[in-house]
């Protein structure tokens, strides 16, 4: 007799076989006539400029670090949530268990909220945005003229 986790294996095998078969059938059916132009990297019709492994925004790393922190918190919360409303524990402690558990978790979550608030205030959650440079150009047409046009056609 397969245990329930055995059926998980059945599911996994079925899913893998399904994807493999579909890809294989597609490979048999489709034409394959590659040429140099087709195999270049797409870059809006231009010649590709260098490798794609470029530097990107540092904020993504910070988000990933913060995520690890809060995901660990979630891992601790899962077992807590399952015993929080436990009837036997609650009855044997005369209803005190629930209040004890919630106060305890409030302290734990509170410390983590402090961490989030720290990151927030320090600006680690603010996305780096490009600085908008104000144009140096002075138009000979006064701004009031533009406003009058906007007013006329709005």
């Amino acid at each position: 007799m397969l245990s329930e986790f055995g059926y998980i294996l059945l599911f996994i095998i079925t899913a893998i076989v399904f994807t493999a078969v579909i890809l294989f059938v597609a490979k048999l059916l489709r034409p394959n006539r590659p040429n140099v132009e087709k195999l270049t990297t797409y870059e809006s019709g231009e010649e590709p400029d260098g490798n794609a492994n470029v530097r990107f925004n540092i904020r993504f790393y910070v988000i990933a670090l913060l995520f690890v922190l809060f995901d660990l918190e979630l891992v601790f919360l899962f077992p807590w949530a399952t015993v929080f409303g436990n009837e036997t524990l609650n009855n044997s402690t005369d209803g005190l268990w629930g209040w004890f558990a919630i106060v305890e978790m409030f302290i734990f979550v509170g410390i983590l909220i402090l961490g989030l608030a720290y990151a927030w205030i320090k600006g680690h959650l603010d996305w780096v945005r490009p600085e908008v440079q104000e144009p140096q150009f002075k138009s000979p047409v006064p701004i009031s003229k533009y406003e009058a046009i906007n007013k006329k056609y709005s």
């Binding site: 329930e4 489709r30 990297t41 993504f60 988000i63």
Partner: protein, 388 residues
């Protein structure tokens, strides 16, 4: 031995049926997505393949099979193939633990569970597989060796992990109500109309927002935002591999709809269950329950499409702000408030109506809290803006 093999055969058939249902629903979601899009934009939509265009998904499938598939010369070939396969695989795996219905009596005393696997970690399984889903996009986008793909993949990863936190916290509120990680136990705790939506209105709103973000649907479809990133992570993909990515998205939509129905809308529970059992027997009643769950899931798929043509896309910093400084604090508030929902009525020996009252009282408390926060922080922002 006889009994074991019967159950095994039934299970094997059931696995096939679940796959067929998810795939069929996903295929026809693409058709209905276009039909609804056409309706919202006042045009005709697909109407050529078959009557009312109902053979459109088949035509699409044939096209996916027949198109040429090229792998860019600069890409990492195996990872490039692995990416969409991982996406498809994780999308298919999630439906394993969803309880599609109650038990069916097969005769000879053999009871058959209308659930792929009833493991005691059901919801953790969903949560874990959904988190794995980001690897499909990340691997595919990185392996393409294309700047647009890389940016799309990183955006997807960052967005998914950010919204996973709020999603996990809203699931924790559900677990506090039920005290079990098993999806079956969660559904059974909601029978006879005690749906979790009544006790967890804030949690549901959080969950549906996070589901949109996890499925990369509008208004959170920044990983494949055409105006900025061409095609996002699937810029370099074509043919069946592209089909896998698109298909995985629709499967994820259906599965997240089913998960929402399971967690918040009573799963296979429906009104007048007792009457149906008395007049038609349990098997018929449970089969209607199966239909009820599919119906609820399809309704959520419709909501996904509806929102797509209603809300415009976020900007990336708005998205991150919403996830980190909006949803996570609200989700933490919801966890604490759920504790009160459970403890206060128990303390004063009140009925479940009192729990619902406390749950609804949470919404004004939340709004007032947000308003106070906004008047403090928003005032500061305005001042700094003026100072500049």
């Amino acid at each position: 031995m006889e009994l074991t093999s019967t159950v095994f055969t039934a299970k094997a058939i059931y696995v096939g049926v679940i796959f067929a249902i998810t795939l069929g629903v996903a295929a026809y979601s693409t058709y209905f997505e276009r039909i609804f899009a056409a309706f919202f934009q006042d045009r005709v939509g697909p109407d050529r393949a078959g009557p009312f265009g109902i053979l459109q998904p088949l035509a699409d499938a044939v096209k996916m099979f027949m198109k040429e598939d090229f792998i860019p010369a600069n890409s990492s070939k195996w990872l490039f193939i692995l990416g969409p396969c991982l996406s498809m695989f994780t999308a298919l795996m999630t439906s394993a633990v969803i309880p599609f219905g109650d038990t069916i009596d097969l005769g000879n005393g053999v009871k058959f569970d209308l659930q792929g696997i009833d493991v005691n970690i059901g919801i953790l399984w969903v949560f874990g597989i959904v988190s794995l889903g980001v690897y499909g996009i990340l691997v595919g986008g990185w392996a393409s060796n294309n700047k647009y793909s890389l940016l799309g993949a990183i955006r997807a990863a960052s967005q998914n992990i950010s919204y996973e936190l709020a999603m996990g916290l809203s699931i924790i509120s559900i677990l506090m109500m039920t005290g079990s990680l098993s999806t079956k136990a969660i559904v059974e705790a909601q029978q006879n109309g005690h749906w979790n939506i009544l006790y967890q209105p804030v949690g549901f709103i959080l969950f549906i927002i996070c589901a949109f973000a996890e499925c990369n649907r509008t208004p959170f479809d920044l990983p494949e935002c055409e105006t900025e990133l061409i095609g996002g992570y699937h810029t370099e993909y074509s043919s069946m591999k592209l089909g896998f990515y698109l298909f995985a998205e629709y499967i994820n939509m259906f599965v997240s709809g089913a998960v929402m129905a399971t967690l918040y809308f009573g799963g296979y529970d429906y009104p007048f269950y007792e009457t149906v059992v008395n007049s038609f027997g349990e098997n018929v009643a449970n089969l209607i329950g199966f239909g009820a769950l599919i119906g609820k899931a399809l309704f959520f798929v419709f909501v996904f499409m509806w929102v797509r043509w209603t809300l415009p896309r976020f900007r990336y910093d708005q998205l991150m702000n919403l996830g980190w400084t909006g949803l996570i604090p609200i989700a933490m508030f919801n966890v604490v408030w759920t504790g009160l929902i459970i403890l206060l009525p128990a303390e004063f020996n009140l009925s479940s109506w009192a729990s619902i009252g406390v749950a609804i009282a949470g919404i004004p408390v939340l709004i007032v809290g947000l308003f106070i926060y906004h008047s403090i922080a928003g005032g500061k922002k305005k001042k700094t803006a003026l100072a500049r």
